[in-house]
Assembly symmetry: C2
Homo-oligomer: 315 residues x 2
């Protein structure tokens, strides 16, 4: 069992650097050199054990997910990841758990060339807070307040797998590795987000559920949205598990680290090319309309009354 | 009682901005414009209830301290504060507690012109993680690895008040407001840190206790230190409470957000001027020597055997 400074050394010994990291882990702060002509995008998200992940989640998956949820926020802003910090509270020192957690964290960090440059290790209930920094060419970050009437509404990937896996886990049932992976190892859509500058109007990460997060886009943009619930993209695994009629509830329950964005219908061809080149499924699920609020329709075009959907802490 | 998005709105409505904040609270991330020719310094520190502050600590003090400990790290790097994020876990929504916490946080933020630009609010045991960003002219940040043989060792302010106040609180005894304030409302030495570029060699924030943190400076710099324990600066309140002989133990117990730095003896006059102009007490407590390790001496010049001192999580 290690003390605090041994834990920090264990992490420091394993991280990769980048040329713009002047000084990484090991001082009171990290020293970083931002690129000229760029805006800095800063995001932060916390994962608490038993709230954001089931308590029995494997340490490597916890590490992965703590970074993934932050990379997803950078993606939603169109930013290229650069640096991050990890504030880790552990009930007791545990080298095996820590090494596995850092395994997962650094595996995803390597995929996105983001350097872990600092953090804090403290005693407390298991919790991870990551702050991630990325860059966009000055003035080109994506906002959630930029949706325009007439825009198509798009989502990446498929929705609902994580919610299904969580439901099965909470009910003590096993599910396929593929589904569980979608809960524990979300894929942040960084390349997509970075490619949407000049194509998308508004963009948001739909970690709280597509309908709720699309509602944020509408509120911020002063517009409304009409969504076809049967158009929400579903994986084969989800289709096999859940009947059509209620599927949208799982698909809007949250924990999907996909992007929802709006774009002029003139951009459909460009988005088809982008989908192919990035190998990311993109699905049109509705349209931005005037006024405010969200309306949803089923496969027969009949309006579905939306009660609260999505995840809200203290909701 | 408010939901998560109401909590965020309550905070967003109260924060100040700065010209270099392109987009603050309310999107997936903040958009910030770093100044040209500067390095970015990033620090992060967590406060857990019952670990970093007594559970009965007033909410406004918790908010203040969460920012203060991070500003102290920026000070140790010589950085000018710019932006910060707050990740806040609360067991249940509590508008009164939250408003008071933000009162304390923003009161200190206003003193240092640092803008709260984002964060996360989640359900979980009470915990606050702040990540703060500041700037230094490129290449001028202070490091802990730059101490040189022959340097004087200096500390700012007085040491031990917070440890005394904590001891009294844990033993159910009251103490003066002045002492309690030193525990709950530490004063980060930002102006001092920013003024030490070109004067100090190594610098560190001594939140874990002066002897332990000075040990980090020695290890990082490949030097040793000799310290006079009777020279550790004490407030009148501490002197009144604690006899001379054992005072150094409280003075090296941690939770003092002062700076310890080393400087060439040629800089004594410059430091006297700085002390006067900033109205911050600066005290020489020893010297950097060759070799490694730390030796401490009492008022009679007799060596004192240092067992572990200072605060280490999992220590």
């Amino acid at each position: 069992m290690s003390g605090e400074f041994d834990l920090i050394s264990r992490i420091a010994a394993r991280v990769s650097s980048r040329p713009d990291v002047v000084l990484g882990i090991g001082d009171d702060g990290a020293i970083l050199r931002p690129p000229a002509g760029h805006d800095l995008v800063v995001v932060t998200d916390t994962l608490n054990s038993g709230v954001h992940f089931p308590e029995q989640t494997a340490a490597c998956d916890v590490g992965w997910k703590a970074l993934a949820v932050n990379l997803s926020d950078l993606a939603a802003m169109g930013a290229t990841p650069a640096w991050c910090t990890l504030a880790l509270s552990l009930p007791q020192p545990d080298d095996v758990w820590l090494d596995a957690c850092i395994d997962g964290f650094l595996a995803l960090a390597a995929q996105h060339d983001i350097a872990l440059v600092g953090g804090d290790t403290t005693r407390g209930p298991l919790s991870l807070t990551v702050t991630a920094c990325g860059f966009v060419a000055a003035g080109t970050a994506l906002h959630r307040d930029a949706a325009k009437v007439g825009d198509d509404i798009w989502v990446s990937g498929t929705l609902g797998d994580a919610a299904l896996a969580l439901r099965e886990a909470l009910q003590g049932r096993s599910c396929s590795d593929e589904l569980r992976w979608r809960l524990d190892r979300p894929t942040p859509r960084c390349a997509l987000g970075q490619s949407l500058a000049g194509i998308a109007h508004a963009c948001i990460d739909i970690s709280d559920g597509v309908l709720q997060d699309l509602g944020h886009v509408c509120d911020a943009s002063g517009v409304g949205a009409e969504v076809r619930l049967d158009a929400l993209p579903a994986s084969d695994a989800l289709v096999a598990h859940v009947a059509d009629a209620g599927r949208w509830r799982l698909q809007s329950a949250g924990d999907d680290y996909e992007l929802c964005f709006t774009a002029d219908p003139m951009k459909r061809d460009a988005l088809a090319v982008l989908s192919d080149s990035l190998d990311v499924r993109l699905t049109r699920i509705g349209s931005i309309v005037g006024g405010g609020g969200m309306r949803a329709f089923d496969a027969d075009g009949i309006e579905v009354h939306l009660q609260s959907s999505g995840y809200e802490h203290f909701g």
